[in-house]
Symmetry: C2
Subunit: 580 residues, 2 copies
């Protein structure tokens, strides 16, 4: 009952009918990525998830990572599981072959990433952060840094971290104070960083920290922050590991969840300063970070999907086994899945999970198009959708993850509150995702401000046009979807005209956007399902139930939120701090 | 920052302007309960909460209750805190003077109970359960049982527990299997009970278990369950404590929250059988339980209000201190409370807390009228409102507690995920309340089925009439409130006509009801505030902001939910288990 089985059929359906796998397969370099190959990859990933990662999820939570004798020890089994993971080549899925990667589409890597996080979110965070470090170096590293670090990072024998946050610099990175003092060709880094996921651990030979810091003459604010590679062990000219660098994990946080994943306070330069290597140019560190952040935010959004899927599987299995009360048509005891309100909760869980997956996978497919489409206009449009929807994937999918995990606890009744059952862990784990990698409030401001108001709503209106064109080709009318798209359009126009109302209404606007776009994608999938899944009536019936749930329970929120936003206007922004 | 301060001004406002304290004061026996006295009581309760109970909340969570050498040890400080609590006479507030109580209105006891649970929910559960045992004995106990047990229970030197659940009998108590074998005038009880809050502990001299069990010839199902008093220590004829009874705590659950509160597996009759005393008549145990359950459900609803208040206070204090980013009109760093989205979250937290408090207190006032009003029709009407709204208080207020505590974590950003901050504990603690004392799904079925469909909607329509009459007396028009009341009426009529749609839509119907009734009460309070609080402009401004939030963000959900329910109809009920 505590097991996890990758929903490969559903993933393949979403990839094919929602996320345009066919288009991805026609991109240059992806011609050999056949649908059969994708299926095989996900089947294999599913085995690793079920057999190796999922069994360590509860034990890892109980045991936690601990700091002892100056280094972090991960829970029992994590070292071996990580070895299996990198030996399978999973760490390098979307990265270029010339640095040892598999050069697979982001859409496929995204589906695999869902599996790691469903099976064991605490585990999944380590390769996720390594991936961010790889992207930073691929985009902005010198040839020398690439040659020194990328092969081991892509192979996974070394892992990466992101060192951004300091006690006074959280959402506001302009306050970063860590110092980088020039020292010959290199720098010496000193300062304290907090909330560093896998800042230290025992699963890899070396840890490559990507650190934001200020050089002595740097201007204040965001334009004076540089990015440095600061390895745990220095790397000799021949590629072997040399001396320990001047950095260490000072303590680990005691957290609500993701307990197997060490969250470290990192202390740099307590002695002579940690040796650091500049990435790109001085003072452009935050700019580089932002090029990486899109993918990291998509990855965190995926965590919401992943935990939702795991919570759904657990709740459904429990509901099918737990006898309590009687079914309406029966005299004997019934499994609680026969009760209408339990059906409601399970259908709500699965439908929202599928909706979130639809959105996340579609954006992953757009990311592939943005990187590889032969037509520049098509690349630009795909990139604009990625930019526009990245905060929506991050925030809406992670809010969905929490909501679904919360329902999973409720399906279990009293047993859901008992830790041994496992439902509560999913809720605890899920709860970080709306916070890190930019809180969901920050995501909403990014959407409403930077992505919508700043360009006069152009990108959103282009997406709305795309949705309308797609809807017009559908054989049936979807009134609730049409109403949602109209409401999204009207609200977008309102915020563009009334930017003073944007900040306080950004969160409901993001939710409205997420439901509308995911609702459109679910309906598209439904229209496909009517045709292509006719040979699998059980799958088709479930998909139709999900789409109906989304249409009847979620889409009606959109016109309501639109009118709430217009009615609220600047009401909240006008409140003084004393009023709230 | 981690402190708690009872919001006595807000409580007094809610009592006076929302919950009809004036009417309660005119009830027989309550003539001496002046407004000044109520204020003094709440001020004193607030001191106990702030000075004694709140400081043990985090330490109690960390330490937890532990089972060692066969008995349960509560966390450091709990024994002394409980002594202070009972020495102050707080345990007996609403109970009759002839058994040592204070004979105060339930409305006042409810406000005090909010304070205990805000300060330390794990602590508050012990007197709450003792209160349930007292009510059972007051209503159904023999004179002998009353004389033997009530004085100590009311004084708090002994505590009470409810032993209902067994592994196979949770929401469905018809499956209870614990045995009660006649033995002379008494019975011998054997069997296992689970999820027994304060089933054992070290704060009182004796523990009086109220246990559901079956006699040998009892009919199957709910009509064969009897209720027994089963004390931890037998009581001698002279009232002193005698032998240890044959019962013990076998283990404690490892829970998501309320860790200071021991949740025990209770083992009865491992040797000769635990001596038990029948309450009332055989086979009527479940009926007796239900007479008590209303109050227990109101008390659990209050826990939602209490945790929401505490979470709000903590989040607001943090937001006022934490500097991050810049305010719109300022060049320097700003406290995050200046940011529009943080204002939105704090206002959402406070408004929903006030709305939930309004509903809970109003029902408490109705409970006083139901018990004491000199006019039989008035008593009957008040009781019908209590019966109707008890599941709404239980479920909607506890859902609100979780939602508000969740926002509290979010306001803290990364610090919210770190346990030392305390925000996460409120979320963990709050999460039990939608589960125990009947899950919120069960509450919704109680509302939609037993309370609405069964009487053809009569009680709900009476409440709607009461709301309409009140609204018609208001000097201003409240369009969103009117729309909500209309939607409640239409949905009630729909469910009465289409009972097949009731079960699967019960949860949204309960939410719709909660928002509408609480929204009405908030608007009533607002109309009062405009007049009576003119001398306190800061309070008045906050109240107006809360009411506006409720009107603009919550009430619009009601017509949407009404249309969702009608559209959904029997869609979910018609799904097979395979579809969900």
């Amino acid at each position: 009952m505590s097991g996890y089985h990758a929903p490969v059929e559903e993933m393949m359906f979403t990839a094919a009918h929602v996320a345009d796998l066919g288009s991805v397969q026609s991109l240059p370099g992806y011609e050999d990525v056949s649908t059969d190959l994708v299926q095989q990859i996900l089947d294999e990933a599913g085995k690793l998830g079920s057999d190796i990662l999922a069994p360590l999820n509860a034990s890892g939570d109980r045991e936690g990572s601990v700091l002892e004798n100056g280094t972090v020890r991960t829970p029992a089994g994590f070292i071996e599981a990580y070895q299996s993971f990198i030996e399978g080549g999973w760490n390098g899925m979307p990265f270029p072959e010339d640095v040892g990667g598999q050069d697979l589409p982001w859409l496929v890597a995204t589906a695999a990433s869902e599996i790691w996080h469903s099976a064991n979110m605490s585990f999944g965070l380590c390769p996720m952060l390594t991936g961010s470090a790889i992207e930073l170096l691929l985009s902005h590293g010198s040839d020398d840094l690439k040659a020194t670090y990328l092969p081991n990072l892509v192979a996974g024998t070394w892992t990466g971290t992101m060192n951004l946050t300091e006690p006074q610099a959280g959402s506001d990175l302009s306050q970063v104070r860590a110092k980088a003092t020039p020292d010959g060709d290199d720098y010496r880094i000193s300062g304290q960083k907090i909330f560093i996921t896998y800042g230290d651990h025992d699963m890899a030979e070396n840890i490559v920290h990507m650190v934001l810091a200020r050089t002595p003459d740097a201007p204040p604010g965001v334009k004076g922050i540089s990015l440095f590679v600061v390895p745990k062990f220095l790397v000799n000219a021949d590629g072997t590991l040399g001396d320990r660098n001047d950095l260490r994990a000072g303590s680990l946080e005691h957290k609500l969840g993701i307990n197997a994943s060490p969250t470290a306070v990192m202390l740099f330069g307590e002695n002579d300063g940690a040796v650091g290597y500049l990435v790109g140019e001085e003072n452009r560190g935050l700019e580089y970070m932002f090029t990486m952040m899109n993918n990291a935010r998509l990855a965190v959004g995926l965590e919401g999907v992943a935990i939702a899927e795991r919570a759904y599987q657990r709740a459904r299995a429990y509901a099918a086994e737990r006898l309590q009360g009687r079914a309406e048509d029966s005299k004997g005891p019934a499994a609680i899945i026969e009760h209408a309100d339990v059906k409601r909760m399970l259908l709500a869980m699965r439908s929202q999970t599928e909706a979130a997956r639809s959105l996340a996978y579609w954006v992953a497919g757009q990311l592939d198009a943005a990187k590889r489409h032969p037509n520049a206009d098509a690349r630009a449009e795909a990139q604009s959708f990625v930019d526009l929807l990245t905060p929506v994937v991050k925030a809406w999918c992670t809010d969905t993850g929490v909501a679904v995990a919360d329902l999973g606890v409720q399906v279990h009744g009293g047993m859901g509150y008992v830790e041994e059952t496992g439902a509560a862990q999913h809720l605890r784990d899920a709860r970080i995702a709306p916070i890190y990698e930019g809180t969901n409030g920050i995501q909403a401001l990014d959407l409403a401000g930077r992505k919508v108001v700043r360009d006069g709503g152009a990108a959103m209106m282009a997406l709305i046009s795309r949705m309308r064109a797609s809807i017009s080709e559908m054989p049936t009318t979807h009134a609730k979807l049409n109403a949602a798209v109209d409401a999204l359009e009207a609200t977008t126009a309102y915020l563009v005209e009334s930017p003073g109302a944007a900040a306080a209404n950004a969160v409901p606007y993001l939710r409205l956007t997420g439901i509308t776009v995911a609702g459109w994608l679910m309906v598209r999938g439904y229209e496909s399902a009517k045709i292509s899944q006719a040979d699998n009536p059980a799958f088709s019936a479930r998909k139709i139930a999900s789409v109906r749930y989304v249409a009847r329970f979620l889409l009606p929120e959109v016109p309501m939120l639109a009118s709430v936003i217009k009615d609220a206007g600047t009401m909240i922004a006008d409140c003084s701090a004393d009023d709230v």
